[in-house]
């Protein structure tokens, strides 16, 4: 069904015109799941009967002419750190096996109020902290561009499933880049708005001052629609029209960030330079902008994240350390060895970082920068996974709490997606989505699909 490649607005149009029913649409998506999820391991929980029951209720609403909201009949999949009433929340961990919330997280309740069909729960790194692990109750998700490769994380199932065409929209969480990372690895779009714009109520926390909830999709229009539904301020339009051109837009290109140590692959650097030229051709004034080396951001992020995560996990780390995957255990234990002084020092650095980012937004409307410095690495190489995690420029905007979007910027010679980020100042989410739509229209990448 070609409609599955189209954006959500097109699917809704077909539902409204009666060309197909929500049940038929749902069955078409489920057929993709049944065919490809055995390769991709996106779902840790999927209740086909419950999903079809939701679709039948949606169908009845269409027949009565009482469409519920902006997403009536559209399947959405949820990262398994976010509560869905009646479905388990395991955070992909033995620790939470048997945990079944009876209330939706706020973000899920908002989706339901718009008529969305909640498909199921998606693979994540354990508690959104570990990495791909093979000593957990569920297998790690795999990259649809090459199933031997890492799909990024921690919203792994979300990135892999959107890219693989298993669902049109997924909701993930992003503490050090965990929405934008799988978007980069899998060649889809990952977006986070400003801090706290999407409620974290009902989301298992990793690091509450860094955690953001955000959507992943294949079309900017789908991200804009999801943002309108999820944003607590609900002030932006549900569509993000591309700009006719970018004349008058000042873009700061953080080129030094990926040419220092660590350094991006040549292919990534070339893709970013090409993006700068494309934006210039569209009329923007693109200048190289300066910032601190990436390890400064990364270390500040890790000290804050590890300290806050330790505070949450310390009872289990003391009593049940064997129930974590080794990679998660090592990561979470790091927090035991930071003092209150270390945490406060990192928060002091964070204030400096936010001031610096806001200064950049005084000079530039937009920042253009790398997302991942490398294409996705092999999933079964823990050293390479660990190495590439410190080569990602996404943590900056978790620290600053400002909006950022990750998008595809090319394809490596090995057939894996290359990526970039755009970032804007507080409360400029809609402008950021319009820029993203302009980039989407100007380049061929968003139309590429993995060779499943």
């Amino acid at each position: 069904m070609d409609l599955l490649n189209a954006d959500i607005a097109s699917q809704l149009g077909s539902l409204r015109r009666g060309e197909l029913s929500p049940v038929q649409l749902c069955e078409a998506w489920l057929a993709r799941v049944e065919r490809y999820d055995p390769l991709l391991n996106c779902f840790v929980h999927l209740d086909r009967d419950d999903l079809l029951a939701q679709a039948r209720r949606s169908e009845a609403r269409y027949l009565r002419g009482e469409v519920l909201g902006r997403l009536d009949g559209i399947p959405v999949a949820i990262k398994d750190v976010i509560d869905v009433a009646g479905m388990p929340t395991t955070a992909h961990s033995k620790i939470l096996l048997g945990n079944q919330p009876n209330q939706d997280a706020d973000c899920v309740a908002r989706l339901r109020a718009e008529g969305a069909l909640i498909m199921g729960k998606l693979a994540t790194h354990e508690f959104a902290r570990g990495g791909p692990a093979f000593d957990l109750p569920f297998a790690p998700a795999r990259n649809p561009w090459n199933t031997a490769h890492h799909p990024g994380g921690s919203s792994s199932g979300a990135g892999a499933g959107v890219a693989g065409g298993l669902f049109p929209l997924a909701i993930g969480t992003d503490t050090g880049g965990s929405v934008r990372n799988p978007a980069a690895a899998c060649g889809v779009i990952g977006f986070k708005g400003g801090y706290d714009r999407i409620s974290r109520n009902g989301v298992f926390p990793l690091s509450p001052t860094l955690d953001h909830v955000g959507p992943l999709a294949r079309h900017v229009s789908d991200i804009a629609l999801a943002w309108r539904c999820l944003d607590r301020q609900a002030k932006d339009p549900e569509t993000a029209r591309p700009y006719d051109d970018l004349r008058g837009m000042r873009i700061g290109y953080l080129r030094d960030l990926h040419l220092g140590t660590p350094k991006a692959t040549d292919e990534t650097a070339q893709a970013l330079d090409a993006a700068a030229r494309t934006l210039t051709d569209l009329g923007a004034v693109v200048e190289e902008a300066q910032t601190w080396p990436l390890p400064f951001y990364f270390d500040v992020n890790r000290i804050v994240l590890s300290s806050e995560a330790w505070h949450i996990h310390q009872p289990w780390l003391r009593d049940r350390p064997q129930d974590y995957a080794a990679i998660t255990r090592r990561g979470l234990l790091e927090g035991a060895f930071y003092s209150a002084g270390d945490y406060l020092e990192a928060m002091r650095c964070r204030k400096l970082i936010r001031s610096h980012v806001l200064d950049l937004f005084e000079r530039y409307d937009v920042l253009l920068l790398a997302s991942s410095f490398t294409p996705a690495c092999a999933i079964d190489d823990p050293h390479e996974v660990a190495r590439t995690y410190s080569q990602q420029a996404r943590v900056i905007f978790n620290l600053s709490g400002t909006p950022a979007i990750g998008m595809m910027a090319g394809l490596s010679k090995d057939g894996l997606p290359l990526s970039l980020q755009f970032a804007m100042a507080d409360n400029r989410e809609h402008d950021l989505l319009r820029l993203a739509a302009t980039w989407e229209r100007a380049t061929p990448w968003h139309a590429m699909r993995p060779p499943l």
Binding site: V300, S306, Q314, P321, Q322, L332, A336, F337, D342, M347
Partner: protein, 73 residues
């Protein structure tokens, strides 16, 4: 009490782990505990080095924050 808890002399990293109540982890996953402690130590070190290398203007901005609330938003 585990062997790790009672063995003497305890190294600094073992003492740190025990002070955090990580008796079981130390007994069963000592390599992970040591690796986590080494990572924290290394990260503190590199961050301090990077802070010392910040431009003077940034150092001053950082110093001015002493005593301010750590909350940023």
């Amino acid at each position: 009490m585990s062997d790790a808890d009672t063995a003497l002399p305890q190294t600094a990293w073992q003492q740190e782990a025990l002070s955090q109540g990580l008796h079981k982890a130390l007994a069963e996953h000592a390599d992970d505990v040591r690796s986590a402690r080494d990572a924290a130590l290394a990260r503190r070190g590199t961050l301090n080095a990077m802070l010392a290398a910040l431009p003077e203007q940034d150092q001053q901005r950082l110093a001015a924050q002493i005593g301010e609330t750590p909350w940023i938003f």
